[in-house]
């Protein structure tokens, strides 16, 4: 059975999409026409420019349109179902029982990145969105190195404390600086023979599972992640590796 999926506005299959962008053109018929064509090329029809604002040489648009494209659900590759996540107590109990020792984690914002908000949300005692950070977990031993840590120093610390996992936070992504930093970390870990014994995890607003995998990380966590998600993943991954004798 074909199951075609389109955006849903207020009825099945209406394909309603809203978007906004700025064109580097003064407001007027020319900018409007350019916006219309651009949006048509994006695959929208019945384009309605509902708002345009002159930004002195630039024009800001808010536009609605009907998306011509659709996605056949049957054609999608297998997508991992979201697992039911474990809670704080459950994770600690799991580690105690299955691993029998504390999981050692070293975290840092690497390269030139000075934004520790994400790292702190995951690692600090306090945590984020009512979820305690890793420091609060009795079965985690954590080292938060803070911001602007060179990849070398991060790996050195990981060796020193015999870390199971390395958490890297990357917030600044301008000109893809994070890609360079993250690639360098993986290469460095490989060059020093550390890669097989470390679980490499990356987090940040522009990070997702797929990007993490492409860059050679074991996991990637994006917007909305709490410490519990990371703790649960690490607990299971360490247990899995133990069972496989890695």
């Amino acid at each position: 059975m074909v199951q075609q999926i389109r955006p849903y506005g207020d009825s099945w299959g209406d394909g309603q999409v809203q978007l906004s962008f700025t064109l580097p053109l003064p407001a007027g018929p020319k900018a409007r026409e350019a916006a219309n064509r651009l949006v048509a090329q994006m695959g929208l029809e019945n384009v309605q420019i509902v708002h345009e604002k002159d930004l002195h040489g630039f024009t800001f648009f808010i536009i609605y349109g009907r998306c011509r494209h659709s996605v056949d659900l049957n054609q999608l590759p297998e997508v991992e179902a979201d697992e039911q996540p474990m809670g704080f107590e459950e994770i600690n109990a799991f580690i105690q029982e299955r691993i029998g020792r504390r999981i050692v984690v070293v975290g840092a914002c690497t390269g030139t990145d000075a934004h520790t908000v994400g790292l702190d949300a995951i690692m600090n005692m306090k945590g984020y969105q009512g979820e305690y950070g890793l420091e609060r977990y009795p079965w985690f031993e954590t080292y938060n190195l803070g911001s602007q840590i060179p990849n070398e120093a991060l790996l050195q610390k990981a060796v020193e404390v015999q870390a199971d996992a390395v958490l890297v936070s990357q917030v600044v992504t301008q000109r893809d600086i994070h890609i360079k930093n993250l690639t360098e970390l993986v290469e460095l870990a490989e060059a020093e023979g550390l890669r097989p014994r470390l679980i490499l995890v990356v987090g940040g607003p522009r990070i997702d599972r797929r990007l993490a995998a492409e860059l050679g990380f074991d996991a990637g966590f994006g917007v909305g992640t709490t410490a519990r998600d990371v703790a649960g993943f690490l607990a299971k991954e360490v247990a899995r590796r133990l069972e496989r004798g890695e």
């Binding site: 906004s20 962008f21 700025t22 604002k53 930004l55 002195h56 040489g57 630039f58 800001f60 030139t112 990145d113 000075a114 934004h115 520790t116 908000v117 702190d120 600090n124 005692m125 306090k126 803070g146 911001s147 602007q148 600044v172 992504t173 301008q174 000109r175 600086i177 607003p205 917007v223 909305g224």
Partner: protein
């Protein structure tokens, strides 16, 4: 005129100020005994040294590093430069160029002290004159063109390319922005030099260079004249080059500087002695140049909880105020910082935000408070984010904040797009005009939630300042009193650049500014 929406216990405020003064004085005594490589480079800059050597090393670094390596920096770079000026009969810039080619300042014969002093006085006079000229220009332009109504709308540009920044800054100003901050590239705070020339590459921001300052100030002057409203420029007097950036800003007529006494220690792991010494001279230059500083207490709440740790913000405001006054800043130059960072899910959170903002407003009635938008609880849901910023805008206008950094709906996603900035200006414009005089119409109930919260914050602040005064500020920082961050007293970056002043130390620029600002050093008998 500040509206009295709450009752604030003046005795407790007086007690908090006195505690903060004692805390600051202890630090000031230490500051008076030390100099740093960046303080000395600042003197070199103000003596007219600029440019780089063949390897791109800035000449202020060349001369200061050389004297430091010879173990003679305790005498002050001013002495060695003036000595060379007399010995070689060349101005400081040519002396520095000769150093880049191998001249050793400390190997020159020591010249007749009267002539050396004369040279120091001459170059000090020129530096102060150049700074004063910019201050006068600003005063004239502000008087002639005026500035926007408070809360002043402050936006950030951060493209990495100063010429792109100019386009975005001008567009924002034409749309109603009053203040433009050029965010620095993320690595700059830890560079122990200031890059040279205009720059077109940066990460998360644009390099602070003197040439970039000039490019942006010219662009804003142009748009100020066009709009008939003086648009102010901000940069960052922080990191390892605090006083150098202050000097550059003073010479290029920046109007505000982010300039906190503790931020570098807490958030960039810079050595305490380095930061305290650097902040003193940087603030003195800002004071002299008529620049308004913005302190960074808002940052505490990005790592610590905004509800539980509100009193640490107010306590730090008191300490920053005292250290600022000791460096010659006046109340009108103290843009003390705080933030709207409570968890939006907290019932009555808005009331607690109002309590904090109004309490600080009443305690520092003559200071242009810097109010920072939500960042920690921005999620990527731009629609909710726009509403959070609306609440922030309402709190700001209601409580009469002065410098209002506009929240971006795309916070936590990317550095602002041009359209984001305009949306946030319109959000603020609408709310601030729509609720313009709301603060004059209301008072909070004496038995209400807001009044109670205000009292709790003030009580917590006094108690917290007592705890800090008991152990001293350095130990308090090392024990994680602020922002839940702990920094060792002798650790941190830039420590090797701290030098104990010798008996024969001279810094004629600092001396002249202290004189003109009417300062008596705390170390000399603690008369402050």
């Amino acid at each position: 005129m500040v509206n009295q929406l709450l009752a604030v216990d003046e005795d407790k405020v007086g007690k908090a100020r006195e505690l903060a003064r004692r805390i600051a004085q202890d630090i000031q005594r230490e500051i008076d005994q030390t100099t740093t490589v960046s303080v000395e480079r600042t003197v070199a800059r103000l003596f007219g040294i600029d440019g780089t050597n063949a390897d791109g090393v800035p000449l202020p670094n060349v001369v200061v590093d050389q004297v430091d390596q010879d173990g003679q920096l305790h005498r002050g770079i001013a002495f060695w430069l003036a000595n060379a000026v007399v010995a070689l009969d060349q101005p400081p810039q040519e002396v520095a160029q000769a150093c880049a080619r191998g001249l050793s300042l400390c190997s020159l014969e020591i010249q007749e002290p009267g002539r050396v002093s004369q040279v120091m006085e001459e170059y000090t006079r020129r530096a102060l004159k150049a700074i004063k000229k910019q201050r006068d220009t600003r005063t004239e332009m502000k008087a002639r063109l005026g500035t926007g109504p408070e809360p002043l709308k402050y936006v950030i540009v951060a493209s990495g390319n100063i010429f792109e920044d100019v386009k975005q800054a001008q567009a924002a100003a034409r749309h109603g922005a009053d203040i433009i901050a050029v965010i620095r590239t993320t690595a700059q705070s830890l560079l122990d030099y200031v890059p040279y020339g205009t720059t077109t590459e940066g990460f998360g921001g644009t390099y602070a260079t003197q040439a970039n300052f000039r490019v942006m100030r010219e662009a804003l002057d142009e748009v100020s004249e066009e709009l008939g409203r003086y648009v102010q420029l901000v940069n960052y007097c922080s990191g390892l080059c605090m006083p150098e950036i202050a000097a550059m800003g003073a010479l290029e007529r920046l109007d505000m500087m982010l300039n906190d006494a503790m931020y570098g220690i807490l958030f960039r792991d810079i050595n305490m002695d380095r930061t305290f010494t650097d902040q003193y001279f940087s603030r003195m230059i800002n004071a002299y140049a008529g620049i308004i500083i913005n302190t960074g207490e808002d940052n505490y709440l990005t790592t610590a909880d905004a509800y539980e740790k509100a009193h640490t913000v107010l306590a730090s405001n008191f300490i920053n105020e005292q250290l600022g006054l000791m460096a010659g800043l006046r109340q009108w130059q103290l843009g003390l910082g705080h933030a709207f960072e409570l968890d939006p899910k907290m019932p009555n959170g808005f009331l607690y935000e109002l309590a904090m903002a109004q309490t600080i407003r009443q305690i520092f009635p003559n200071s242009p408070l810097k109010y920072m938008p939500p960042t920690k609880h921005m999620t990527g849901d731009i629609f909710l984010g726009h509403v959070q910023n609306a609440m922030f805008n309402l709190a700001s206008v209601l409580t009469g904040q002065s410098i209002h950094l506009l929240g971006m709906l795309t916070e936590a996603i990317h550095t602002p797009h041009i359209g984001d900035r305009i949306l946030s200006i319109e959000n603020a414009h609408y709310i601030m005009e729509n609720a313009r005089d709301l603060g004059r119409e209301i008072k909070f109930r004496p038995d209400g939630i807001v009044q109670k919260r205000s009292e709790d914050i003030v009580n917590g602040t006094v108690q917290f300042l007592e705890e800090i005064a008991a152990v001293g500020l350095k130990r308090a920082i090392s024990e994680g009193f602020f922002a839940d961050v702990k920094r060792p007293t002798t650790g941190g970056k830039g420590r090797e650049g701290v030098v104990r002043k010798g008996m024969d130390y001279v810094n004629p620029i600092m001396d002249a500014m202290e004189r003109e600002l009417g300062l008596v050093s705390a170390g000399e008998g603690g008369q402050l």
